[in-house]
Every structure is written in structure tokens, then in C-alpha cells.
Amino acid sequence: MIGADNNELEQLIQNDKFIRWVIAPDASSDQYWHSWQNEYYSRKELVEEAKQIVLSIYRSEAANTVNPTDDIIRQSWQKINNQTQNPEVSKPVRTFRWYKYAAAAAVIIAVAITWVKLGSAIAPVNQTVPEPQTVQTKSEIVISNSESRDKIINLPDGSRIILAKSSAITYNRLFNNDTREIFLSGEAFFEVAKDATRPFYVYSGNVVTKVLGTSFRIVSDSKTDKVTVAVKTGKVTVFRKNKEQEDKDKYILKPSEQLVFENVKTNPLKQIVANKALIENNLPAVTQFDFESASLPSILEALSKHYSVEIVNSNSRPEPCLVTASLSDGSLYDKLNFLHKVTGIEYYVKNQVIYVDSKECK
């Protein structure tokens, strides 16, 4: 089964560049390893086998790794933040880049309310009111809807949300973590893009809703702690947040079913959705980006606006780079990958900002 190439295989699976290519390929490593394996006929098989080994180790490590919950990350930061407030350091530290957060004071107030609610749900034993956030990191984005009509939000993974009035969501701006997590205060309809490798969680009050790709609505009332989860398509798993294990006391909902938690204590009630309006998908057709001889900056601006992310076009060339493309399917990252393939631009993620290097644009 394995012959003289044993040594080569051993070397390959210990090669850091090779591992990085297998786990997180990019254009330049793709090119390098493809041409490397094309040098000799026998290398194709070698690379394939090495790849399988590296991948299976990575996967099993990933499956074996315990990840901290967002709550723990947040709580820990609050503690760290509290202990590192030294007033003597009064250098003009940029605590908050106001201009980056499009909406002004209203949003900030919404943050505070959401967090207080979440905070109390997280730590029922430790009834300290979380202190107002003095530093908000750029990684979290809060979108609230104070208008009288619904607001549509496009997430970078291609999922879409209809946020009802007086509601707010919080999520990781680039939405590129191993799990997709949304904190909801109020009411929203979710149309979740399929991604079996990254489950999508919605935290509302003390109820957690987990899906892979489906559509559903959540109505949560922070005053009464009542939470309703109503499913339109697909399968949805719902469980209480304070349950350590999601396997325990979880409820699986099918289309047209709903689960109603009247309050924090009593068991929820599973029913057929009576109010069909709850599971009406009022989302418009998926936005189609048709660009004809459009300049790259204008395309990036359109994407940046659509997905509420910051995209910086660095290293642009003096002569314009015109692109004709139709971008409709998939996530923001699918679109960027497509642009990469078509135009040769590179992009990378740093400090919650997507940097695009367009010097190779053609």
C-alpha cells in the first residue's frame, strides 16, 4: 500500500506550509502546491494522501476542541476591562470610533439594554448589573430598528434577517467564526444560509435556537421573558440557555410548528403555528449585483454597504480596473472569492476589516 515514498509523505505532513495550504488555502499557496505536485507524476497521489491525513487530524482536533461560549468571552473581557481602567492614562486613547457606527446614540442605548438583558440571563446567580460598556470592540456590530417598519439585514454568510420594530441584534461583524451567533432582543424573522459546518445560533432571553439552514421567526419579550420560536422551513433545535448540555431538554421543531416559552421557569409548549403571519417570509428576492464595466472600488463599496462590513481597498492602481460580473449567489466571501478568480484581486481579513489588494486586478 505504501512504498518508498514513505519518507516524502512523513516530510509533507510535517511541512508547515503544506499544512497551512490544506487547512487554509489561498491563491498563492494554491499555485505553489499545484505546480509542486505537477513536477512529478507520482506527487499527485502523495499530495492527495498527505492532504487526507492533515485534514483528518485537523477535523478530529476540531471535534475534540472545547470552545468557550460567547458569554465567557464577554464576561472575561468585562473583568479585564474593569481591572485595566487606570485614570492616570489619559492619553487620547480612541475608545470608540463613533463614525464607524452609522447610527448614533439610539444604537448605543439599545446596546446597553440588550446587554443588561443578556447579562441577567447569563448569570442568574450573580445578580450584578453589568456595567455599561466603556470600550466596545470593533468586532461586535449592533443593529437596532427604531423605525416603524421592518428592517432587512444582510449577513456576510448570505443569511438574511427581517428585524421587527423596536428590536435589535448583535453579532460578530464579519460573521466568520466557527459558529454563527446572533443575539436577539425583540422580534425577527431569519432566513439562514445553509452551512452544515457552521451551526447558526440565536440567543434570545434565555432561549437558544440552533439551526443549520432554514427559516423561522423568534418573538421575545424581555419584560415577561416570553419567547416564541416559529418555524417556516427546515429543522430547528431549541433549548434553554442555562442548560449546560444542549442534548438535554432540547426541542426539535419542524415546519409550521412553534415552541412557546411563557416564562423562564415553566416548560415550553409545542404547537402548530396559529398565526400564519409569523412564518410569512416577506423578504424580497435576493439582491442581484450586476456590474457592467464597474470600477472595483464601486463594487467593493456596494458590497460593504450591503453586508455592513468595512472593506478597505488598499494598493489600488492608478489606472481603473473595470469589472463586469453578476454576483448573486452565496455569501460575501463567495462573492469576494469569485472576484478573486475573475480579476486576480487578493483579500484578507485583519482586525475585523476586509482588506482588498487590487494591484493584480485585470
Binding site: M1, I2, N6, E10, I13, Q14, D16, I19, R20, I23, A24, D26, Q52, I53, V54, S56, I57, Y58, R59, S60, E61, A62, A63, N64, T65, V66, N67, P68, I72, I73, S76, W77, K79, I80, N81, Q83, T84, V89, K91, V93, R94, T95, R97, V135, T137, K138, S139, N176, N177, D178, T197, R198, Y333, Y348, V349, K350, N351, Q352
Partner: protein, 205 residues
């Protein structure tokens, strides 16, 4: 893209943040926390099974970093420095220090093929390769497992692993080499065991 923080391009990405943080930029400090908290927790849970201890250690680590920011090396390899500091903290707090003292002995003991065989046959049901690798991983010594995780999950180079685990470069390479050898053995074995029986070892030796 999808691999979370562990595999982001970290060429330079943190060094600028780190420098800003050393110069007192609280926002840069918050960003560093956001970038590294997750992998640090995951790594900490691997070393210690006491989640509170890991939480405390990470909080202490960051508070200490902030307090000593003016004296820190501005040109440090940020990620491996943080991992190394966390590891040192957890191990210094006792109980784990003994796990790793006689590494060689441990590795030899744990590489006992017999035990692997029985583990695999016991859990024949795990057909999937990932499950098999995981089983094989469990037969490695704690130190080998740690090195494998740092390399294949957290994306560190051998040099960085040596620094984190406080051993020299050659030892780190040896640990990994032996771990992989042992893993590969189980692989082939597990893949062929159903019809080749005990011949599976012959593929390698």
C-alpha cells in the same frame, strides 16, 4: 475563512496591534483580546480540565499584560507569546507540572501498540476516518497530543511550538515526528484491519 481565528493570516496582522497596545492603546488591547481569547480558551481547556482556572488565568494574563505593557517586547510573536504565557500560568498553578516531567518514558509507555489495537477493535463502530484519528490521538501521550493540536489546529510552526512548550527545537520536532509516526500507523492499521488483520503494522516497519 471558515476556520475561525486559528488560521487567519497572521503575518504582521497582530504586530501592529501589539505595538499600539504597548503604547497604551486600549482599543488595540481590546482587539488583541477579541482575536486571541477564543484560541486561548480552547488551548487552556486542553491543559486544564478546570474551566474556572482557565478563565481566571486568561483574565490574569490580560490584566498583567496591560499593567506591564510599557516593558513588553514590542517585536514579540504575539500568538505564541500568549499561548506560552497561558501555558506557563496554568502549569505553575500546580497539578499539571507532573504530567509532563518524564516525557520520554511517557511517550514510550503510551505508544504501546497493544492498547491501540484493543481500543480500535472495541470501537469498531467508528468507521469514519476522523473518528479513527481521534481514537488514535487519544492513545498519544499528553505532550504529543498538545504538540499535534498546536500544529494542526492552532497553526503553529515547530519553532513556535518549541517556544510555547518550553523545549528546544529538536525536541519539539521529535515529539511531533513520533506522534505522527504513531498516528500514521494507526491510520493504516485502522483502514486495513478488517481484511488484513495484524499485517497492518507491516506497512510501516
Amino acid at each position: 475563512m471558515r476556520k475561525g481565528m486559528a488560521w487567519e493570516k497572521r503575518v504582521d496582522s497582530s504586530s501592529e496591534l501589539w505595538r499600539n497596545f504597548c503604547n497604551g492603546d486600549k482599543e488595540a488591547f481590546a482587539d488583541l483580546y477579541q482575536i486571541y481569547a477564543r484560541p486561548l480558551f480552547s488551548y487552556g481547556y486542553r491543559i486544564s480540565d478546570n474551566e474556572n482556572q482557565v478563565k481566571d488565568a486568561i483574565q490574569d494574563l490580560f490584566v498583567e499584560l496591560w499593567k506591564s505593557r510599557e516593558n513588553l517586547d514590542q517585536a514579540v510573536n504575539v500568538k505564541s507569546y500568549l499561548f506560552k504565557s497561558l501555558r506557563y500560568k496554568l502549569i505553575r498553578q500546580g497539578k499539571f507540572s507532573t504530567v509532563y516531567t518524564s516525557e520520554e518514558l511517557m511517550d514510550q509507555f503510551m505508544n504501546n501498540e497493544q492498547s491501540v489495537e484493543s481500543v480500535i477493535s472495541e470501537k469498531e463502530a467508528h468507521r469514519e476516518r476522523t473518528a479513527q484519528v481521534r481514537l488514535a490521538l487519544e492513545t498519544l501521550s499528553a505532550r504529543q497530543q498538545e504538540a499535534i493540536s498546536l500544529k494542526f489546529y492552532h497553526g503553529f510552526t515547530n519553532e513556535e511550538i518549541a517556544s510555547i512548550m518550553a523545549v528546544n527545537y529538536q525536541s519539539a520536532t521529535n515529539i511531533l515526528h513520533r506522534a505522527l509516526l504513531s498516528l500514521r500507523k494507526h491510520f493504516t492499521c485502522a483502514a486495513t484491519t478488517s481484511f488484513l488483520g495484524f499485517f497492518c503494522f507491516l506497512d510501516f516497519f
